[in-house]
């Protein structure tokens, strides 16, 4: 069976300017940050990024990679706002498609099911319809006659997700409390890449966790990147929680144009190994 393991840089080399990328996770939780960091090192640009947004959006904004963001929120959870996303919005440097969280899920579901749209009540009466003038409503053909929002399918060129374990074939497993929408991101995309804390033998996946934790099967995964600490500084429980001290440091530096170059130089100028080594050094400084 095909060995789908790859490096983050090999995966990111598949991206082209102008592509639509879906990023899994939720806020500052189980984000494929090592793949995001690989995008920062690459020349790719003009991306449309579809995300329940967290620091993935902030970092991509910091490097000027974004043309458009499709989102329902961008937050660091324990810190309400991402400073880089705020700056990108307030300077007008990024276009947006802002959806209700449920509409966002409907858009991915429609793409996953190869439907043109899915109907939902969410969005009716709100400014989501005003700020997205391309959105249409649809009338029920049945006697109720209800008029609902027709959320168009959000197809993706590429999906990036981070899970806890996978085998080399691409069967992938989450061990935390919430799968988020990672399987939908993969089903909505033409190419699907998963980074994981550890690549293990297939039999090992269900040795200690229930079969229901197998979120992705290999038919929906094109590449597996072993990336310990790959979600840092977001959560990847039970492997690790959010690095709150680092996240505060990120947010403080992101807020301050004077401090950001030092942050980027220290943490983002090298490869993933250099990043993780610098993070370990940063953690030691606290003790």
């Amino acid at each position: 069976m095909a060995d789908k393991t790859a490096t983050a840089d090999e995966v990111v080399a598949e991206l082209e300017d102008g592509m639509t990328i879906g990023i899994g996770g939720w806020g500052s939780r189980r984000k494929p940050m090592s793949l995001v960091r690989a995008i920062l090192r690459s020349p790719v640009k003009d991306l449309t990024v579809v995300s329940y947004g967290g620091p993935d959006i902030g970092l991509l904004a910091s490097a000027g990679k974004l043309r458009r963001v499709v989102f329902g929120f961008v937050t660091l959870d324990s810190i309400p706002f991402d400073p880089w996303f705020g700056r990108a919005r307030e300077s007008g440097s990024v276009e947006v498609t802002e959806y209700d969280e449920g509409m966002f899920a409907a858009a991915l579901s429609a793409a996953a099911q190869r439907l043109p749209f899915l109907p939902t009540r969410a969005g009716l009466g709100s400014d989501v319809l005003r700020v997205n003038p391309g959105l249409r409503t649809v009338r029920s053909p049945y006697s109720d006659g209800e008029e609902l929002v027709a959320v168009p399918a959000q197809r993706l060129d590429v999906a990036f997700v981070h899970l806890n374990r996978a085998d080399a074939r691409g069967n992938a497993q989450y061990l935390g409390p919430d799968p988020y929408f990672d399987d939908l991101f993969c089903l909505a995309a033409r190419k699907r890449f998963v980074s994981v804390e550890r690549v293990v033998d297939t039999a090992e996946l269900t040795a200690e966790a229930p079969v229901q934790s197998l979120l992705l099967n290999r038919s929906t995964v094109d590449g597996v990147v072993e990336s310990p600490g790959g979600a840092h500084f977001t959560t990847a429980v039970p492997d690790y929680g959010r690095d709150e001290r680092f996240q505060r440091h990120y947010a403080d530096c992101a807020k301050d144009p004077e401090r950001w170059p030092d942050f980027a130089d220290r943490f983002l100028s090298g490869d993933e190994k250099a990043y993780q080594a610098e993070v370990a050094r940063f953690a030691k400084e606290a003790t």
Binding site: G72, F73, T75, F81, E101, R121, G125, S126, P177
Partner: protein
Amino acid sequence: MNEASRAEVAVVAVAELFRGDGELLVSPMGLVPSLGARLARLTFEPDLLLSDGEAHLLDGDGVLEGWQPFRKMLEVIVPHGRRHVVMGANQIDRYGNQNISAIGEHARPVKQLLGVRGAPGNTVNHRTSYWVPKHSSRVFVENVDVVSGVGYDSAAKAGPSAQRFHDVHRVVTNLGVFDFGGSDHAMRAVSLHPGVEAGEVAEATSFEVELDSAGVTRQPSSEELRLIRDVLDPSGTRDREVRP
């Protein structure tokens, strides 16, 4: 027991939002709403369901009793409607439109906030209340900049499908409790917290709010004060959200 602080009055006022909810999932966003929901469950609404803010439902003893990941929340629980959410609000207007998305023009905001999050879906699917820790004319505005949570006038304009399950219940602030039972569903005061004058509320609200029929928010009972102080919030974080 010494007198209740303003924060403690607010916690009880939030708890009262859930009276009659029974076996319903409640989703309180923020500190005072969480304390209020847990207080309600410990006292007059023992059957409320509450999550840990992640995917777990925990009962009143902290025992895991359910699984509720975000996908289930958005695809099933919200549209099914057996839920009462208490959200925050950067802006609220006279008819209960709420904004948590951005201040200024949406195309290029003066201040980017969270985004609309689940507010559009919540407000057209199930009961929604709001918590505002600092009642001010910057929050209570004539018109919100980006309608995130749908108010009564917006729901009416959008038609029967928006109105069918629309139920913006109440707003609790550091000054009082409000509903939308005024003329044309305008905001009116249900009660002002002990010691709050009508003029203070009028001053802190950009639009005219009906104040004539307002009563006084009830004081916490001594048992409620004991639960808040000794069980739910022994470190007193509530007083940082609502200044005494």
